[in-house]
C-alpha cells in the first residue's frame, strides 16, 4: 500500500478551502495550518502564466524528518503516511530543520505537528478532508498500488512533477500540469 495525492494545478483556483477544511477537521490551532496554497507566476509582463499549488506534507518515501528524529516520534505508518507520535516528541525541531518543504510546525502545546493525510478518515475508507471539500475536484487521493484508485487514474494519462526531487526525498505529492 502506498498512499499518495495528485493535485491538478490546472483546476486549482487557490480558494484555500482545503486549508480551512483541514483546520476544522484536525482542530489546528489559530495561526497555523497543515496545508497551504502556493501561487506561481511565470513569465515576463504582460505574458504571464499563473498556477496554484495546494501543498502539504509530501509523505516522502525517504523521509529526512523520520531519519533525523532522535526519539522515533516521527515515523512512517502503514501506507507510507509520515506521522508524529505526540507524546514521544520532545519538540527539538530536528524534523522541522530537515524538511525541504517546511511542512511541519511547532504546535502551541509543544510537540511538532503536520499533515496526517487525515489517517483517521483514511482508515475508515474515506478521503482526507481537503480532498472531499475541494470545489474544483482538483485533489485526488488513494493507493498508488491500486490501479483503480483515484490517484492512480489521475496520474495515468497526465504529466506530473514533484517538488524538489533533487532533495532525494521521493515525495508523494504529484502535481498534474
Amino acid at each position: 500500500m502506498r498512499y499518495a495525492m495528485a493535485i491538478d494545478t490546472n483546476k486549482c483556483v487557490g480558494c484555500a478551502d482545503c486549508v480551512v477544511a483541514c483546520q476544522t477537521e484536525n482542530l489546528v490551532p489559530h495561526g497555523f495550518s497543515r496545508d497551504w496554497i502556493v501561487e506561481k507566476v511565470d513569465g515576463t509582463y504582460p505574458n504571464l502564466d499563473m498556477a496554484f499549488q495546494s501543498e502539504r506534507c509530501n509523505h516522502c518515501e525517504n523521509a529526512p524528518c523520520v531519519r533525523c528524529c532522535p526519539t522515533g516520534s516521527s515515523h512512517i505508518a502503514e501506507g507510507g503516511i509520515v506521522l508524529v507520535t505526540h507524546d514521544e516528541c520532545i519538540g527539538c525541531g530536528a524534523c522541522i530543520e530537515s524538511c525541504p518543504y517546511d511542512a511541519r510546525y511547532v504546535h502551541p502545546d509543544g510537540y511538532v505537528d503536520k499533515c496526517t493525510f487525515c489517517i483517521h478518515r483514511v482508515d475508515k475508507g474515506e478521503n482526507p478532508a481537503c480532498v472531499d471539500v475541494c470545489p474544483t475536484y482538483c485533489l485526488h487521493f488513494g493507493d498508488l498500488d491500486d490501479p483503480n484508485s483515484d490517484v492512480s487514474k489521475a496520474l495515468k494519462d497526465r504529466n506530473w512533477y514533484v517538488l524538489a526531487p533533487e532533495a532525494g526525498t521521493k515525495p508523494q505529492l504529484y502535481f498534474l500540469r
Binding site: 511565470d42 513569465g43 520532545i90 527539538c92 510546525y105
Partner: protein
C-alpha cells in the same frame, strides 16, 4: 530570461516567514560542546602520553571548565526543546540514523565522566580537600588507579561530542549551507582550538603554554584549510549551494564571518601566537579570547545562516 515569481499563500504568523526555529540556545550549545570536547580531549591525551607533570593546567585545572560547560550547554539544549517535559524520550530509544540521538547518549556518558575526572584531581589541586565519606575515598582510589582507562574513554567520547556539534547540522538535507560533510571535521577542529585557547588562558606555566600554542597553530591552519575547502565546495556546487555561498560573499553574513570569524578569530590569534613563540610579549588572554570569541561567532553565524538557505522550487 524567463522570470519566475513565487508567492506563497502560507501567511501564517506561527509558521511563515519566521521558520527560524533554532536560536541562541543551539549556537551556544554547539560552542560549549566543542569547547568541553577540546578540553577533555587534551586532558585525557596528555594523561595517556604520560605528560601529567609537564601539563598541569591542561590535565587538572582547565578540566574543571569541561563539566561546567557541558552542564550549561545541556541547559541551553533543554531550553531549546518545545516539549520540555518529554526530554526523557531521548533515552528510551537509540536511533542510529539520527545524530541528535547519538549526541544525547554521548552527553549522558561524558558529562558524569568529566565530573569524575575533575573529582579525581581535587585532592591534588586542593590539598585540604576532604571527601567526608569513606566510600567516596574508595571510589576516588579506584578512579585514580584506572585513570588511563578513563582517559581513553573520555578521549573517544570527546571526539564524538566535538564532531557531533558539526554533524548535527550537516545531517539536514533541507539546509544546503549545513548539508556538507566537511562541517563535522570543521566543528571538531574549531572546538578543539577553543578548548586549547581556554587552557592557555588559565595556564601559568610558560613551557606548557608554548606546547599548547604550537598545537593550536596547527589547528588554526587546518581550520583555515577546511574553510577554504568548504567555500570551494559551495562555489562549485549547485544553485542552492551557490546561494548559501552568497550569504557569505556580499550577503548579510559577509562581515560577521570574514571579519569576526576568519580575521579576528583565526588569522589574528594565529599571528599573535607566532609572535609569542618568537619571544615577543603578548598578553596571554588576547589570542585566547580572540579564538573563543571567533568560535562563538562562528556557531551563531552557521546556525542563523543555515536556516535561511533552502531548496528552490
Amino acid at each position: 530570461m524567463k522570470e519566475e515569481l513565487i508567492v506563497s499563500g502560507k501567511h501564517l504568523p506561527g509558521i511563515y516567514p519566521d521558520l527560524h526555529l533554532w536560536h541562541w540556545e543551539i549556537a551556544l550549545y554547539l560552542f560549549l560542546g566543542g569547547l568541553a570536547g577540546g578540553i577533555i580531549f587534551f586532558a585525557s591525551y596528555f594523561v595517556i602520553m604520560g605528560k601529567e607533570k609537564e601539563m598541569p593546567t591542561a590535565v587538572k585545572w582547565a578540566s574543571i571548565i569541561a563539566p561546567l560547560a557541558l552542564v550549561i550547554g545541556l541547559g541551553a539544549l533543554f531550553l531549546d526543546l518545545n516539549h520540555k517535559l518529554y526530554f526523557w524520550r531521548l533515552y528510551t530509544t537509540i536511533r542510529f540514523q539520527s545524530p541528535m540521538s547519538w549526541g544525547a547518549w554521548t552527553l549522558l556518558l561524558i558529562t558524569p565522566l568529566s565530573f569524575i575526572w575533575v573529582a579525581s584531581y581535587l585532592k591534588e589541586m586542593f590539598p585540604s580537600w576532604d571527601w567526608k565519606f569513606n566510600f567516596l575515598n574508595q571510589f576516588e582510589k579506584f578512579v585514580i588507579k584506572n585513570r588511563k582507562g578513563l582517559a581513553w574513554i573520555l578521549l573517544i567520547l570527546s571526539l564524538i561530542v566535538a564532531v557531533y556539534t558539526g554533524i548535527l547540522l550537516s545531517a539536514f538535507n533541507a539546509r544546503p549551507l549545513w548539508n556538507v560533510s566537511i562541517l563535522g571535521p570543521l566543528f571538531l577542529v574549531s572546538g578543539y582550538s577553543s578548548g586549547l585557547a581556554a587552557i592557555m588562558w588559565i595556564s601559568k606555566n610558560e613551557s606548557e603554554r608554548k606546547v599548547l600554542s604550537r598545537i593550536d597553530l596547527i589547528l588554526i591552519a587546518v581550520e583555515l584549510f577546511l574553510i577554504v575547502h568548504l567555500f570551494m565546495g559551495f562555489m562549485a556546487g549547485t544553485a542552492v549551494k551557490q546561494e548559501a555561498f552568497n550569504l557569505f560573499l556580499g550577503g548579510p553574513f559577509t562581515v560577521s564571518f570574514w571579519v569576526f570569524v576568519v580575521l579576528l578569530g583565526l588569522v589574528l590569534p594565529g599571528v599573535l601566537e607566532i609572535f609569542e613563540l618568537r619571544g615577543y610579549h603578548v598578553p596571554k588572554w588576547v589570542p585566547a579570547f580572540l579564538i573563543l570569541f571567533g568560535g562563538l561567532v562562528f556557531r551563531f553565524v552557521m546556525v542563523e545562516a543555515g536556516q535561511i538557505t533552502r531548496y528552490l522550487y
